[in-house]
Amino acid sequence: MAAPQVTLQSITGVDVELRIAGAGSRSYAFIIDWHIRFVVAFAWLIVASLLYAGRLSVFDGGESPWDRGYVVWVLLPMSVIYFGYHPILEMLMRGSTPGKRMAGVRIVTRTGDIPGPGALLLRNVFRLIDSMPFVYLVGLVAVVFTEQHVRIGDLAAGTLLIIDRDESERSFARIAPTRGLDPQAADLIHELLERWNDLDENTRVQLARTLIARVDKTVTTEELARWTPHALRTRMKQLLNPESAA
């Protein structure tokens, strides 16, 4: 089944299909964000407590457990870090957070635009419902069963989570026109070289032989069959950068 999409309509007539992120990408982004905010809030608690009281807690001894300075300088900022993490960062990073960026997802409106502060705040207010009864069960069920994989907060704010992996710089960098090499083949060779270590031996050798046979007519099939994986890789690099081989 194809991933659900939303169309970004443009006045130039060139529309773009934005792929909607599923429960996996969402959960991955959330787990990263949760760890970041937990670690930062906890680090604040430790450091600010040590700076304020010279020890990790003021709740021992005969002092009042609700020391004003401790609440204002330690507990309050910690709560702001923990509970304000999503709304504040989403507004500052225009629909993204460090976790979402790492997971390659971003919040957009249903028309593909950057959501405003009101929509982002509303989306976060509904975490009260989405997190019910525990570990975001309501939100997760909503994401799994809705057509566009949205939680209740997204339904209320009119937002979507889309897949947004920025590969522009890398992709543009590697399409330097190579004399005699088909750009599509060059793109495939780049991709294979990038994924070389992730693929198993047989697959990468098979793919490399197929690609080299397609673009390099000076090598026969018999010769290719004899080449080692290292030789195949070197030849692909030479095809992309003939000058470096010279």
Binding site: V14, R94, L122, L128, E167, S168, R170
Partner: protein, 332 residues
């Protein structure tokens, strides 16, 4: 010229400009105040990227280059179409126009929710007056023992924690309750009814219980300064929640999703004002309400004075809304 040579030539002619796109987009995204020349350049870049993307889709379909162009094009689209950044004007419209219009639209829901709250409070009073043992379901043992000894639980609050700490705790809790009263409206309004009725029930029950031990006057004294606005705000947030539920039961748009989104977007503006009003309540409840030095008359003045401020804010007059603008703006 063969097709492949033509393709190579096209790529060679475009590659440099594509490489410059990413830093250009980053610069455009960072800045909020663009000159006319920068705006024109951005639009020209948008057209040029659109052309390139269109060609790339034909000759390099499903390639990473096409995807990268799509990404840059999408990013530039978002930059060009983002709303103008005028925070002060936005706030002015919000408080002068939008919130009063929402309040006007919600007036029937506000009436019924308030009535439900009052009836629940009456029911709570009657239940505890008739069956005093029921108070154990609503109050903690410590509170019950205290009242039975003739001491209200609010006494000595300032000895336990400073006013600022009490205020922060109270306002956070009240904001959370109001947001919850709004959000649970998603369960077809039933969640909101539950929260309003339990809050009313508890209030009535506590008054009945303290009345049985001659402490209802003390409780009223404690509640007066902050209670007027605090209880009103809970009813306002609940009315917004009811509207959410109604949007699902009786959709105003072709689909329930659209209807829900529209209702949530509209009513959530009121929540911002509710949260601000609750901050004031928190400070009154932390500094004034538990302090026995303040006589009843000062509490009445503060309570009703703050109530008038709330009414001014809800009608927009506090923020300079003129009387001519009172009719709600009808939506196209």
């Amino acid at each position: 010229m063969s097709a492949e040579t033509g393709l190579q030539a096209w790529l060679a002619s475009r590659i440099e400009s594509w490489r410059q796109v990413t830093p250009k987009l980053d610069a455009l995204e960072r800045s909020r105040n663009h000159t006319a020349a920068e705006a024109t350049q951005a639009i020209e870049l948008y057209r040029s990227l659109g052309r390139d993307l269109s060609i790339a889709r034909r000759i390099l379909p499903a390639s990473r280059v096409t995807r990268a162009l799509e990404h840059s094009y999408t990013k530039l689209h978002a930059i060009i179409y983002r709303k103008p950044h005028d925070f002060r004007a936005r706030l002015r419209i919000l408080f002068r126009e939008e919130i009063p219009d929402v309040v006007h639209e919600l007036r029937t829901a506000i009436f019924w929710v308030t009535l439900l709250f009052v009836l629940s409070a009456g029911a709570g009073w009657w239940l505890v007056s008739s069956y005093p043992e029921l108070i154990s379901l609503l109050a903690s043992e410590e509170m019950i023992n205290g009242v039975e000894r003739g001491k209200l639980w609010t006494e000595g609050m300032l000895n336990v924690a400073p006013s600022s700490v009490i205020s922060i705790g109270i306002l956070s809790n009240n904001i959370a309750v109001s947001l919850m009263a709004f959000c649970v409206g998603v369960f077809f309004g039933l969640g909101t009814f539950y929260i309003v009725s339990t809050n009313g029930l508890m209030l009535g029950a506590m008054f009945a219980f303290t009345h049985q031990h001659g402490l209802s006057g003390e409780l009223l004294k404690f509640v007066t300064a902050h209670g007027v606005v605090e209880l009103s705000v809970i009813c306002l947030a609940a009315a917004a929640g009811v509207m959410l539920g109604e949007s699902l039961i009786r959709p105003t748009h072709p689909t329930r999703r659209e209807s829900f989104q529209h209702a949530a977007g509209k009513t959530s503006r009121l929540l911002l004002l509710c949260a601000l009003l609750l901050v004031g309540c928190g400070f009154i409840e932390g500094y004034l309400s538990p302090n026995p030095d303040f006589p009843m008359i000062s509490r009445v003045i503060v309570g009703f004075g703050y109530g008038i401020v709330m009414l001014g804010a809800l009608t927009g007059h506090l923020f300079g809304r003129s009387r001519q603008n009172r009719a709600p703006v009808s939506e196209a």
